[in-house]
Symmetry: C2
Subunit: 317 residues, 2 copies
Amino acid sequence: MLEDFKQHFKERFDYLNNKQLLIAVSGGIDSVVLCYLCKMCEIPFTMAHCNFHLRAEDSIEDQVFVEHLAKRLGVDVLVKEFDTETYANNNKVSIQIAARELRYNWFESLVVEGKYDYLLTAHHLDDSIETFLINFSRGTGVEGLLGIPEVNDYIVRPLLIFTRDEINQFALEHNIQWREDYTNAQTKYLRNKFRKLVVPILKEINPQFSNSFLDTISNLSDTNQLAKDAIDFAFSRVARYQEDGSIIFLIDEIKKLSSPKAYLYEMLKPFGFTAWKDIIHLLEAKSGKVIYAKEYILLKDRSVFVLQKRTELEKNK
Amino acid sequence: MLEDFKQHFKERFDYLNNKQLLIAVSGGIDSVVLCYLCKMCEIPFTMAHCNFHLRAEDSIEDQVFVEHLAKRLGVDVLVKEFDTETYANNNKVSIQIAARELRYNWFESLVVEGKYDYLLTAHHLDDSIETFLINFSRGTGVEGLLGIPEVNDYIVRPLLIFTRDEINQFALEHNIQWREDYTNAQTKYLRNKFRKLVVPILKEINPQFSNSFLDTISNLSDTNQLAKDAIDFAFSRVARYQEDGSIIFLIDEIKKLSSPKAYLYEMLKPFGFTAWKDIIHLLEAKSGKVIYAKEYILLKDRSVFVLQKRTELEKNK
């Protein structure tokens, strides 16, 4: 795994050379293995640990474990303690959401302050497969079926091509210690169903399933890129920016597209529209008809749609 | 279900009015229910039954059952008997493939002869979900994740929005008899794993899973259409038909595309190319380098690729 990691890192993340890297370390096996891999590849990094204080002694022991690990590896460690329950109550969100928001707000602040450039997280291939299945179970579009993104703004996930088994194996071989992480138990309950019951069937039917999954999401990612190109192209054909900041859509040109509904959906999504049925009907509606989104309105004016920002007055209506 | 079927048929298959329709009837619950639904909606049809003679008495009893059903419903029935094992041996294919080929060859001949226009089959939503999962387990692209197509040339599948449970329920309510079909047991073994073990979990996690699945494949189908548009657009930008029948691809234009690899893959797929790594390397290769497909060759000639049909001489090389 070490050689594969080294090669993968060189191929895909060469731009991280000489950047200031953080690794999010819970103390769980995945993040601890990521630290060891980086250390063994002589990739410099700083550890970042969140203490959510959700499990009394356990949370404190996690923090102590991570601090010891940092000392053993000879790297710096940042620790942030949160009052997660108060945050959840104040913001009326679940404990999981609170922990997530606190975690990423802190990481982002570290990056925004400029001392660090990227955050590495230890998500792996099985996390990605489970995310695919969770999204699929709920109903989704192509972006929900791309698994976990390898790069997302300042967050980089260099373990996404490795399975949970490979990570376990590496930890065993190198006699690496870790702590079990129970914080996000509820999310894990749903994930566990897929992990324990569904993924084993997929792997039994196709022993190469993990690699096949990587092929599948690579194919879907290509298709998604092509679809985005088509939307850009269609937009340039049917839309005209006006001097007053509004955008005119030419209805006759929209109707010439292979799927007016799909294109309208994708072209208007960035402006916050959700009333898709109304929008489709707008193609045939009377002049003067208007559809409202939070920040924008779409007006049918004879042969065109006019997309404009809503005024403060309109918003209060 | 009857009302939903009537409305779905009217919305999606209005063009089948006054056409000569065949229904493929095995005698199993799905095809028998489809016959009853059509009969109750006063859609005229002829039944078509294949006897593959694979299960001795059972195959004969299936045939007798279907002939009686036709009489009861007052419709015509066509029956074709096959020597499936001989065909499988002669053509060195599995029994399942043999049955499939024989079945569709016969259906196609019936349509080609012109007396019939369309063949209806009784595939339903759970078949489609299982097909998605089977393809996903093996690794696939977006087209493998669209489930079973509703229309495919002369084949139309009007039950794809109904679940197995709805069909069972309808058969019970209307006291409909059917015969179990064991012919394609091996395919069913794989399907059964998904049916019995995976789909129940998806439905437990999301009780609306069947509807969510319809949304998912509708979204993917839109994305697929957009991607196809992008390929057509890219083709018109990078490719030039020549008078001698060859096609010139402009390498500089290909490199300007958002994902040259994905576009080249899609643009060359129809010509039977499979050596994708070679083709990507061709972008940077020396002039004169050639890649062979079964019927075509692709030649790098300075700033362009030239795509030509292979001569008989070349093919025998």
